[in-house]
């Protein structure tokens, strides 16, 4: 490809959690300023802004969200575009920013993701999230988002013998990682018994199998690799940025136990980056529900189809084990402000590749990292592979 190579030169995020005192504008400003300061952009002009948020219209009544962000960040008159792909909005925004730099159109691009979810009652937030699925034929019939993943879980249990304990172990691991992450929504460890005994949301998923409703924002600064090398001695190169789609409704899929969008996007990403799953040292996957992480690690290719549950239970995805999955705590532990997640994943992987992960969360010798962001019940998947650029 004749496209330019692209690198991440700065990252920043807010803490994820319930931010009663911070509205949407405050969240994006906090993340944006942290990323720009991390990138040391004094005197460097930003050329364009891409923002990912899933449901600002329903959650804060605001569309035209990137116009708001560019205005509030004092970045007028640069072009500012919103990207939306449900829970993959952040990842899709990152991909769009990457394409803008790779194509040569822009040099310095800021990509942000944000979601303000707690200004509405939880029931309304759940309805907003339901829009990630087929609103007409899934949500309208009574299928909430957790119900869709419960249907996936039930089928995975049926086809591969995955157990509730295996799914619970994903939550346990992610909470253990999140406990060390100063930016995470949850800072306490939990046990398998805690997960199994929690309030049932949609059988077999309990409250602790489900990622929370959180507020938060994250941002990264992109530059072409050559320029990045002059700017910082620790650029993180994006080796691959790939995306794929699948049917909107779960009932239209050929199989409930694999995500074709993940398989296609991941395969193409490995081809573009010229690496294999075994080369990945750290990976942030989309664990909106515990079962989602199990599908992800199988579909990306870290474990054989059907063996993801056992691998999780056996500790093969823990920090510094066979493959460190969701060192940030994932969506489950770190929180899931929907539009922010895909960008936060890039923030976490950047910290890991730079050796800057806080509080003993560091994956030793991390050189190649990956992010995996999914929209809805698998209708969109965006993956990125990054490498420590020296």
């Amino acid at each position: 490809m004749f496209m330019r190579r692209v690198a991440i030169v700065g990252v920043g995020m807010t803490e994820f959690g319930e931010h009663w005192e911070l509205g949407f504008r405050e969240l994006i400003a906090q993340a944006g300023v942290r990323a720009i300061e991390d990138a040391k952009l004094q005197g460097v002009k930003i050329d364009a802004l891409y923002g990912g948020t899933m449901a600002a219209g329903r959650l804060i009544g605001q569309e035209h969200i990137t116009a708001l962000i560019a205005d509030y960040m004092g970045l007028n008159p640069i072009p500012a575009t919103r990207v939306e792909a449900a829970c993959a909005s952040g990842g899709a925004a990152l991909r769009t920013g990457y394409l803008a730099v790779a194509s040569g159109m822009h040099d310095v691009v800021v990509v942000g993701g944000a979601e303000k979810m707690t200004d509405v009652p939880a029931g309304d937030a759940a309805v907003a999230l339901g829009g990630a699925g087929d609103q007409e034929w899934e949500l309208f019939m009574g299928a909430t988002f957790p119900a869709l993943y419960a249907l996936i879980a039930r089928r995975h249990m049926h086809e591969y013998g995955t157990t509730r304990e295996m799914m619970a172990s994903v939550a346990v691991k992610n909470h253990a990682n999140a406990a060390k992450n100063p930016y995470a929504h949850f800072r306490k460890e939990i046990s398998i018994e805690d997960v199994l005994g929690a309030k049932m949301i949609s059988e077999p998923l309990t409250m602790f199998d489900c990622s929370p409703i959180s507020d938060g924002a994250a941002a990264v600064v992109l530059m072409p690799l050559e320029k990045a090398k002059e700017h910082t001695d620790m650029p993180v190169e994006i080796l691959a940025s790939m995306q794929a789609s699948d049917t909107l409704a779960l009932h239209s899929r050929k199989s409930l136990t694999e995500m074709r969008a993940t398989k296609v996007a991941a395969k193409r990403a490995f081809e573009m980056a010229k690496v294999a799953p075994g080369d990945i040292d750290v990976c942030e996957v989309h664990d909106c529900f515990t079962i989602a992480e199990i599908l992800a690690i199988e579909d990306i290719g870290f474990f054989e189809k059907g063996k993801g549950g056992k691998a999780s239970l056996d500790g093969e995805t823990a920090l510094n084990s066979k493959i460190s999955i969701n060192t940030s705590g994932g969506l489950k532990g770190c929180g899931h402000p929907v539009g922010a997640t895909g960008v936060k994943q890039a923030v976490e992987v950047t910290w890991q590749l730079r050796g800057e992960a806080q509080n003993n969360r560091q994956v030793k010798g991390a050189e190649i990292g990956m992010t995996h962001n999914v929209g809805g019940s698998g209708a969109t998947c965006v993956t990125h592979i990054m490498k420590r650029g020296d």
Partner: protein, 134 residues
Amino acid sequence: MTEGHGLALTWRKIPERYNLIGSHCDNCGENFFPIRHICPNCRRKGRMKNSRFSGKGEVYSYTMVYSPPTGFELEAPYVMAIIQLEEGAKVTAQLVDGDYSRVKIGAPVYMVFRKIQEEGKEGLIHYGFKFKLG
């Protein structure tokens, strides 16, 4: 009540919701639900026509929903399932009237006519399909 349910939309959905009318592609022979105008297999070579499905099928997956969305509070907990119709297409619907312990993947089901949602005390009642074991 899920937002966005204008009466024109509900009226358009009646054939699908009341009578399980989906699509059949005369080119590749596959059945789809709900109605599609473009065959995902054949695209422009597809020849899609409306097809009424019998309502018979089996449970493909299921869950018991304890945390209902707005509009379903009175029914919770209720069973949601993906049903594989005998014609091949799959649909998402509630399972009613049954003993949850008898719900299994592969259990035969048939379609029944029920209220799906109501728009409060003064708005429209939305009717449509649910399924029952048997």
